[in-house]
């Protein structure tokens, strides 16, 4: 695949993520923050996000598996996940967190379990997509090309 094609692929791929709602404009903001002085900003932040989220999801699973679920512990975790996912633009993860929090407030254990599953699903999805995205970017960079700036035309 030549450079131009790779760049086109990347753009199309990114576009599709936005169209599917996996990512939102916040991600674009992050991309715009990346520059020469900060070349790996996006991947750094996303990596941090993955680390934090893995930990949170783990804690959530543990908390919800308890005999008696302590919602006072569950809620802050979900809240944090909501905050970080919204900060990087992982829209669907954020939305799933919002639903999750509502059920937390109602202290509905069953529903919370389902929500957790939903959040995990969305999270793995966005993780997967972003990893693919970064791979594409790396390929372009490795081929000596520039990563095209995303346009907000869609």
């Amino acid at each position: 695949m030549d450079l131009v094609q790779m760049q086109k692929s990347l753009q199309d791929y990114t576009k599709s993520l936005f169209l599917e709602g996996v990512l939102d404009s916040q991600f674009l903001q992050l991309q715009q923050l990346q520059d020469e002085s900060n070349p790996d900003f996006v991947s750094q932040v996303v990596t941090l996000f993955f680390q934090d989220s893995d930990r949170i999801l783990n804690d959530l699973s543990l908390s919800l598996d308890q005999q008696v679920v302590d919602f006072k512990k569950v809620d802050p975790h979900v809240h944090q996940l909501k905050g970080s996912s919204s900060s990087i633009g992982a829209q669907r993860v954020k939305n799933a967190c919002v639903v999750f929090r509502n059920f937390c407030e109602q202290q509905n254990v069953e529903a919370c379990h389902r929500c957790l599953q939903q959040v995990k699903q969305e999270y793995y999805l966005v993780k997967n997509r972003l990893e693919t995205l970064f791979k594409l970017e790396q390929q372009i960079v490795a081929s000596g090309g520039m990563i095209p700036a995303m346009e907000l035309g869609f």
Binding site: L48, P76, H79, K82, G83, S84
Partner: protein, 520 residues
Amino acid sequence: MTVEQDFEALDQFPVGMRVLAVDDDQTCLRILQTLLHRCQYHVTTTDKAQTALELLRENKNKFDLVISDVDMPDMDGFKLLELVGLEMDLPVIMLSAHSDPKYVMKGVKHGACDYLLKPVRIEELKNIWQHVVRKSKFKKMKSTVTNGDHSLGNSDHKANRKRKDDDQSEEEEQERGNEKKPRVIWTRELHNKFLAAVDHVGVKNAVPKKILDLMNVDNLTRENVASHLQKFRSALKKINNEANNQQANMAAAMDSHYFMQMSSLKGFGSFHHRPIPLGSSQFHGGAATMRHYPSNRTFPGMFPPHVSSSRIHNDGGYIMLQGLPLPPLDNLHINNNNNNNALPSFTSQQRSLMVAPNNHFVPEGHQQSSSSSPHLEINKRLEDWSNNIPQSNVHSKPDALKWNIDTSTTEPTSFCRDTDFGSSYATTQADFLDPFQMKQHQENNLDPMTVAQLLRSSSGNEGLLFMGQHKLENDFMDSDAASLDDIVNSMMTQQEQSQAEFSEGDLGFGWQNNSLRTCI
């Protein structure tokens, strides 16, 4: 990004503005840091609120602005906000994923300059420097009085220095430096000083200038004192009017404690000449002087009406007086069994009675005798008046009249003048007081005559001014009135002569009024 171009060249500020960013979420912190860098601020980050505080305390002038997340594990963001505002007086911006207005409200109430929602956008961060300018400008305004320096260039540093000066001189006013015009908050201490000053010059001679000089408080203006004095006087007047109208009503509800109080109220006639026991739970009458204001806000001379159960003891009303461990009481020569005799002695002794006994006067009723709620109501009100702490324990402290006890809150420093005794009365009854009370418990539940007497005697007595601030409600008087009439009548005659003694008018007695509502 054209962020750089957006900034005006304001002596380079806001470029290089030093921001401290606090967020336990690594992802958000990293993003925030980059966004702030993009705005050309100088950024320091930490994921722990404690670390942030340490950094700030290390050098207050190191930062211009703090941005902090609300939900942090080691410390609540609002708490950090408060501490930063109090200790360093820096502008703080809250950050949160909570869009719930109540959080925003909380932020505002705790002093946040702004509240941003996550995810934060760069547009919002571009203008945060305005908070720094605003705050320093405000500080400059305040310190203009002291040094008249208006330059904005080095505003941050100058503001910091000035801020320190301002803070020290504003202690009395409990200012956080966020308001345009510092409002004088009449704390208990301040009020007590005021009372002492008024007492010293005499209510009739009380002029703002003299009082201000006597009070010797920084940052208190003649105007502050004048308006406070005006309120004071009008409250006194009100009380006196009420007293005249309510004597009969009061009789029923008052118990001997009350009477005691009344007697001592009489003593207030020469209020300023007598030592006023302040704020101790004992009636240390002798030792206290008018000027000794208890640290609580009680006004010397206020007696919380002793709330007793609905049982009315006609005798022993004065017995209670005897029980009071107040030095002044010694002078009272109260005869247990002879109420009538006691009365006259009271009058003379009253003067020497200073407030402290208030605590003892805690109405028994406070101790959960809800049977006589109307009485309780009054007593409670009076009690609240004289108690520094609007909590159930308060009663145990005989404090001087409280100027502004708000029984509905437990905030001793609240100046809520509207003491709504009725409702909270029952709750605060517990423990009210003291052995003295116990003693009297049996005897005194209501000594109609004492009440009546007190009422009468207090009418002329301005000493209880503060008490007077509260108007006692009439309604609580009803229950036992009928049986007390006779006693009251007999008491009345005796009291008449003592009434004359009350008219010194130093401070009005407010205690007569059941519903002490201050309008200050």
